[in-house]
């Protein structure tokens, strides 16, 4: 047997098939304004935004070990920046989303310097304090409606597109595009040098540090990049809602609890997990939402059971059973030719 018969690769038949299916699904989804109804498009738009939020939270918690329960700080900040930049800066909403992302990154730097002093679970509650500070601060800004909030003026909404269907298509594509960009960014980041460092930190922080990885710097980059992207998603969310108030913008339930449940149920620490989790979350919501508070309790119970019995989530179960991976991230040793020598 010759060593040259073997090679190391990331791709497999499953990843190639997944890539082809993904492209086909993308084509169908991009064409949605021509085949889907108005309500379906709204629902899908919301689904894509949750998918993006979940993928970002998963990058932080599942890979960098930064468990935040305060990402609503950036969702709300993004929403308010969209309103401020368009209403007072006279900016086009799409440009404002980009600028909001930059502002999100800038504000995340001092925040990270401060809360990185807290370790582990205390970091989590520290992020919540930051979100509260954001909420209380924006409630003080009377030009943005103070505690009761404000609506996006009609003129700004019109500047997106004159027709209602045009606006709906545009906001659908923006949501779809944001989910694709976030997943692609997470995927490319994990394949990069920094991503390799991050995966090493996830698997064993002590060992990663002893190999010369700058743990603090890697986590810092992840935090700031995630904050910037979350801010942009937040701006998009409130471009769809057209109305903002401090309680809605900085809601722990809407922007953190649901996102955590999505990631935990789908499978934390995998790219596929948030995708599966989002689909399950929306399927549950569409069937059980009438139950109101019972639905949330069911969701909590499901998340606890999964955390205790299958900590890698549903995707973890599938992966362990079939040795399957849809995104080519881990390396496998393969035999080059099919003529298997004895």
């Amino acid at each position: 047997m010759n060593h040259s018969d073997f090679h190391v690769t990331r791709s497999s038949a499953a990843t190639k098939a997944a890539a082809i299916i993904a492209i086909l699904v993308m084509i169908v989804l991009i064409a949605a304004p021509w085949w889907a109804g108005r309500a379906d498009m709204r629902l899908m738009g919301e689904l894509f935004l949750y998918l993006a939020l979940a993928s970002l939270w998963n990058l932080m918690a599942g890979y960098a070990g930064l468990v935040s329960v305060g990402q609503q700080a950036y969702v709300g900040f993004g929403g308010y920046m969209l309103f401020a930049l368009t209403m007072f800066g006279g900016m086009h909403p799409v440009a404002a989303i980009g600028v909001a992302g930059v502002l999100g990154a800038i504000i995340a730097i001092p925040v990270a310097l401060l809360i990185f002093r807290l370790r582990g679970a205390y970091f989590a509650i520290g992020t919540w304090v930051i979100a509260e500070v954001f909420r209380l601060s924006f409630a003080q800004v009377s030009s943005l409606g103070g505690g009761s909030g404000s609506s996006l003026p009609v003129g700004i909404v019109r500047s997106l597109s004159e027709s209602r269907s045009g606006r709906e298509s545009l906001s659908y594509w923006l949501a779809l595009g944001s989910a694709v960009i976030v997943i692609a960014a997470v995927y490319l980041f994990l394949r990069s040098r920094n991503g390799l460092a991050l995966t090493a930190i996830r698997d064993n922080e002590l060992a990663a540090g002893s190999l010369g990885i700058d743990i603090w710097r890697t986590k810092f980059i992840v935090y700031v990049v995630t904050a910037a992207l979350t801010t942009m998603i937040g701006a998009l969310i409130f471009l769809q809602k057209l109305r903002i108030s401090p309680d809605a913008a900085f809601s722990v339930n809407d922007w953190t609890a649901f996102v955590i449940f999505i990631v935990v149920i789908g499978g934390i620490g995998t790219i596929e997990g948030p995708i599966i989790g989002t689909l399950i979350f929306f399927a549950l919501r569409e069937t059980l939402a009438d139950l109101g508070t019972i639905y949330l309790m069911v969701l909590g119970v499901v998340a606890i059971v999964i955390m205790l019995k299958a900590p890698n989530g549903i995707w973890g179960l599938i992966r362990a059973r079939f040795n399957l991976e849809l995104f080519p991230l881990s390396f496998r040793v393969k035999q080059s030719n099919s003529s298997k020598g004895a």
């Binding site: 989590a124 601060s137 955390m307 900590p311």
Partner: protein, 287 residues
Amino acid sequence: MEWVNAVVQGTLLGGLYALFAAGLSLIFGVMRLVNIAHGDMIVLGAYLGLSVTAILGIHPLMALIIVVPCMAVIGYVLQRSILNQTLGGDLLPPLLVTFGLSVILQNALLEIYTADPQKMNAGSLETASVSVGGLSLGVLPLLTFAIAVAVIAALQWTFYRTALGRAFRATSDNQEIAQLMGLNRRHIFGLAMALALGVTAIAGIMLGIRTSFDPSIGGGRLIFGFEAVIIGGLGNLWGTLAGGVILGVAQTVGAKIDPGWQLLAGHLVFLAILAVRPNGLFPRISG
């Protein structure tokens, strides 16, 4: 004089925050567990107090006799049945499981008691006041502060003077060796959670007498308790009382400057202390 009054009222308010924080501090000290559902458990204590006073027609303070043991039993069962499974090297399971518990508890309370704000009726105790050196001090805040001091002294005594406290400290230092010495850490953790929720019940009832409450306020109470713990320094119970007082004073002085600034001022003082003294003012152990 108005400012002196704000500081004194804030100090007394700090007693309530120290009660919020004591349970959190205890659980972290013994098993390195941060309970995200802690705030909702305070609210649960308040609602249990409400039900007991409504059913038996007794004074809220008398309800403590029933609610404290009830919460302790809930704590023991919760720890043995669910939380013990999450303890290990990994940070995520305890955090996410208690987060799930928080959502379940909040919605269960919403289902049972509705979203209407409730308040416990403590009769003349609510409005009684004594006049000290030109300041008018409410009897209820004074009583709350005294209870906070008593609770923390009792916890301190339990930790350093009793066999149970020795078991807590041993398990906290090294779980495996404590196990080898014949301590069942699952039972010890159960007792620690029982003690913590007993204290939480006191916090809940004092909260319920002082202000109105509804199922959604748990998160805010968790944050106040957490801030008091961090300001005071991890693992230091008297530090936690000091942390509660600092937070309370920051809030009342902030409210004096501008009513909208009450909560914000507390958070900002917390962040400032975190920036200057990341281990708190009186640290005992490193997190």
